[in-house]
């Protein structure tokens, strides 16, 4: 059952990255859209994201619950040493979640809209940045349980080149996912080409940020290259991602939306797979090379079993309902945009 729980944890993180990532990205795209086109982008976003908006963010709750029920030592270590980035991320989540809804449900449309939009766009950037920083920090080896000063224990645990680079990479990935997603949500050719342009831009940004991640890892002696390329699974995943990248650019020119979505999702899957395969089940790597492992530091068997069953039973309810939700609103979305 432990493996079932670990699988769910991984999938919840992947889905959060894919679905909530596209949400975050929508805000980033809006931030990068010229004033002239912003209102159009905003409308597209509501139609495309509105109905599944709240559901997308549930994956984070699932992730947290799995962590504190199944792997309490890991949850507690992250909570202590990554307190500050977690808090900033939470403020981002508060700001985004509320601003998005307030903007839509304010009965009067006036200059308040501008305030909601600014908050929404800014927090759409900050939240994934810090999500990435948290993910990067957990494997960066900078968390030091023996640190003596405040700065060593609670600041340098996350403020380092590698973590920040992972943060920026996450932002780029989110923007990329959103642009790809939005291409399929508009029927107007001009709008479409605008999102295609954005998708290309974000893709280039992701590749650049990705290279910075590798450079930062090299500079800080993090064996990222070894994790990625030191084993067949990693190499195959990276090769698959590269091939899909080429295909993706081809279909970007063609404007085939379904295939584009599948390819973009596939890329994220491969990147997350390559990045985590080698060091899993060691989910937190501490200073000095010791680690917290999903297997060695999991909770007691009975707790894991109960959690596993709760997740299995939960998905019987959640997945069909979620699928039907996405399906019913997808069906009408493009038609509605005409």
């Amino acid at each position: 059952m432990l493996y079932v729980v670990i699988f769910y944890l991984w999938v919840a993180i992947l889905f959060y990255l894919l679905f909530a990532g596209a949400d975050f990205g929508a805000g980033i795209i809006e931030l990068l859209t010229s004033k002239k086109n912003r209102n159009k982008t905003k409308r597209t976003m509501y139609r495309a994201i509105g109905p599944i908006w709240e559901a997308n963010h549930m994956w984070l709750i699932i992730t947290v619950v799995i962590l504190f029920v199944g792997f309490p030592k890991i949850y507690s270590a992250m909570s202590v040493y990554l307190h500050i980035p977690l808090t900033i991320m939470l403020f981002g989540i508060i700001a985004r979640g509320t601003a998005f809804t307030f903007r839509h449900y304010d009965a009067v449309e006036d200059e308040m809209q501008l305030l909601y939009s600014r908050i929404f766009e800014l927090s759409s950037f900050v939240t994934p940045l810090f999500l990435g920083i948290i993910a990067g920090s957990s494997v960066s080896g900078h968390i030091d349980p023996n640190a003596n000063t405040f700065v060593d224990a609670y600041i340098y645990s996350w403020l380092n080149w590698f973590s920040v680079a992972v943060g920026l990479f996450t932002v780029a990935i989110c923007g990329f996912l959103a642009a790809i997603y939005l291409i399929g949500e508009v029927a107007d050719e001009h709008e479409k080409s605008r999102f295609i342009q954005k998708a290309k831009m974000m893709n280039i940004a992701a590749v650049i940020c990705g290279s910075i991640v590798f450079m930062a890892a090299y500079a800080e002696n993090i064996p990222l290259a070894d994790w990625m390329f030191g084993n067949t699974v990693g190499i195959s995943a990276i090769s698959a991602a590269t091939v899909s990248l080429i295909l993706l650019w081809y279909f970007l020119y063609k404007g085939k939306t379904r295939i584009l979505r599948v390819l973009a999702g596939f890329q994220v899957l491969m990147i997350l797979g390559a990045a985590t395969f080698r060091h899993l089940p060691n989910i937190i790597i501490l200073k000095g090379g010791s680690y917290l492992s999903l297997i060695e530091h999991s909770g007691q068997e009975k707790a894991i079993n109960a959690l596993g069953w709760a997740l299995l039973i939960g998905s019987v309810f959640i997945l069909p309902a979620l699928f039907y939700l996405i399906y019913s609103f997808q069906k009408n979305s493009v038609r509605a945009s005409l």
């Binding site: 509105g50 109905p51 908006w53 709240e54 559901a55 963010h57 549930m58 984070l60 709750i61 699932i62 947290v64 619950v65 504190f68 029920v69 199944g70 309490p72 949850y75 507690s76 270590a77 992250m78 909570s79 202590v80 307190h83 977690l86 808090t87 939470l90 403020f91 989540i93 508060i94 985004r96 979640g97 509320t98 998005f100 809804t101 307030f102 449900y105 304010d106 009965a107 009067v108 405040f150 224990a153 609670y154 909770g299 007691q300 009975k302 707790a303 894991i304 109960a306 959690l307 709760a310 997740l311 039973i313 939960g314 309810f317 959640i318 309902a321 979620l322 939700l325 019913s328 609103f329």
Partner: protein, 440 residues
């Protein structure tokens, strides 16, 4: 500010903020479903207008409740890492089930809010019901987790180790039922009176009277029935607390010395130093009777507990008095309203009655906050009753005071914005729903 006090204040603030939004998220769907049902049955456009107006409020409150709930799931660890490290696996069952319930709620809300004219009308109505039922289930599960902190079970505690974990037993701890029942009814009382009060005020202002009167009538029935049931559940809770957490009951009642024929103390200012209560009304033997059904029975006082194991008496007692006082007032108002509906229908539009309801707008929520103060402060100094002290659970990170200031600023601004949005929604009712065109 001391880090420990800051952590406790931040937790209290976050919970106190979240509880308002979750109550509304739990209860409003039932009000909407009622109005929605009446629309589908009667095709009277006032009902669909009310449903739509309420659903906008719900969207605003749900979004705020969802983010403040997400924050809480992290804050448990950010503020109390030692607690979560040990408690997480034991009382995790309600949280993992709650994850599912909350997820379903979010999905159903997507269907409901965006599903007008897209689905079969009764399927659409049903998704609204799902929002309410899963919201209620979420609430019950989270309260069960809190119940476990009051009444820990499902593990053996030996030499500082938590052994033989049984998550199912922890889920159905001794406190879960009485707490969940009391809280669920409280959510209906609080939301019901708040909604009824706002609509009553709008009727008094003579704005869109037909709309507000219809909305008032739906909310007030829920509110009145819940307010009448609540004291019964409260009585059950008090007996339960006396049995499980005698120190908490003693603090609630400011009962210092163990003895027989213990009076019920109404009001008053407890003086913990001199172990007495000033300015209180006493009903001789009242507490003994309430708890054991016997005017002469013995009730444990705070003197049975070592100094360091006693909860703060002043806060617990006053919060309890506020909760009970407001609860009683709302119960009387509820009984009176139902009587009015039954006997003197024309009284509904009497000014003084509407003013009474307007005055009661915040009462339910004040009672909810006071009630949670009783539960939480009354459990102190324990975070897991009798097992782990709150002071031992707090994060080692210094400077929590700054975090508390930040959270305070954020939650105050959010409250201001939500109030502002609600004000605008209500102000615009005439414009948005003024015509009888149901499809606008």
């Amino acid at each position: 500010m001391d880090d420990f006090i800051a952590a406790r204040s931040q937790m209290a603030l976050s919970l106190g903020f979240h509880i308002i939004f979750s109550c509304i998220g739990m209860v409003m769907p039932f009000f909407m479903a009622t109005s929605h049902y009446l629309w589908l049955r009667t095709k009277n456009p006032v009902y669909i207008n009310i449903t739509k107006a309420w659903s906008k409020g719900v969207a605003i409150f749900f979004a705020t409740g969802a983010v403040s709930g997400t924050v809480l799931s992290f804050e448990l660890g950010l503020l109390w890492p030692k607690f979560m490290e040990h408690a997480g696996p034991i009382f995790g069952m309600p949280f993992s089930l709650e994850g599912t319930a909350f997820f379903i709620e979010a999905i159903a809300l997507g269907f409901f809010l965006y599903g007008w004219n897209r689905f079969h009308p009764w399927f659409h109505w049903f998704t609204g019901i799902v929002v309410g039922v899963s919201g209620l289930a979420s609430g019950i599960l989270v309260v069960s987790a809190n119940g476990w902190m009051n009444s820990p079970s499902g593990f053996d505690y030996l030499n500082g180790q938590y052994l033989n974990i049984d998550p199912i037993k922890a889920l159905f701890n001794d406190a879960w039922f009485s707490q969940a029942l009391h809280m669920s009814i409280a959510a209906f009382v609080a939301t019901g009176f708040a909604v009824a009060g706002i609509h009553a005020y709008m009727i008094l202002r003579k704005r869109d009277v037909r709309f507000h009167l219809t909305a008032f009538k739906i909310a007030v029935v829920y509110a009145s029935i819940a307010a009448i049931l609540q004291p019964l559940s409260g009585d059950h809770s008090a007996k339960d607390v006396a049995h499980r957490q005698p120190a908490k009951l003693a603090a609630m009642e400011a009962h210092f010395k163990t003895g027989k024929r213990v009076p019920l103390i109404i009001g008053g200012l407890p003086d913990a130093q001199n172990e007495k209560v000033d300015y209180a009304i006493e009903i001789p033997g009242g507490l003994s009777f309430m708890i054991n059904g016997d005017w002469n029975s013995e009730i444990k006082g705070l003197d049975q507990f070592a100094e360091q194991d006693r909860p703060p008496v002043l806060i617990t007692h006053i919060a309890f008095q506020i909760m009970v006082g407001l609860g009683m007032f709302m119960m009387l108002l509820g009984i009176f309203y139902l009587f009015v509906v039954w006997k003197k229908k024309r009284w509904i539009e009497q000014k003084w009655l509407l003013w009474l309801f307007t005055a009661a707008t915040p009462m339910g929520f004040i009672a909810v906050e006071a009630g949670w103060t009783v539960t939480e402060v009354g459990r102190q100094p324990w975070i897991i009753y009798g097992i782990m002290r709150t002071a031992d659970a707090v994060t080692p990170m210094p400077g929590i005071a700054y975090s508390f200031y930040l959270y305070t600023a954020v939650y105050i601004s959010l409250s201001v914005i939500v109030t502002f949005l609600l004000y605008r929604q209500i102000k615009m009712v005439g414009k948005l729903y003024g015509t009888s065109d149901a499809n606008t």
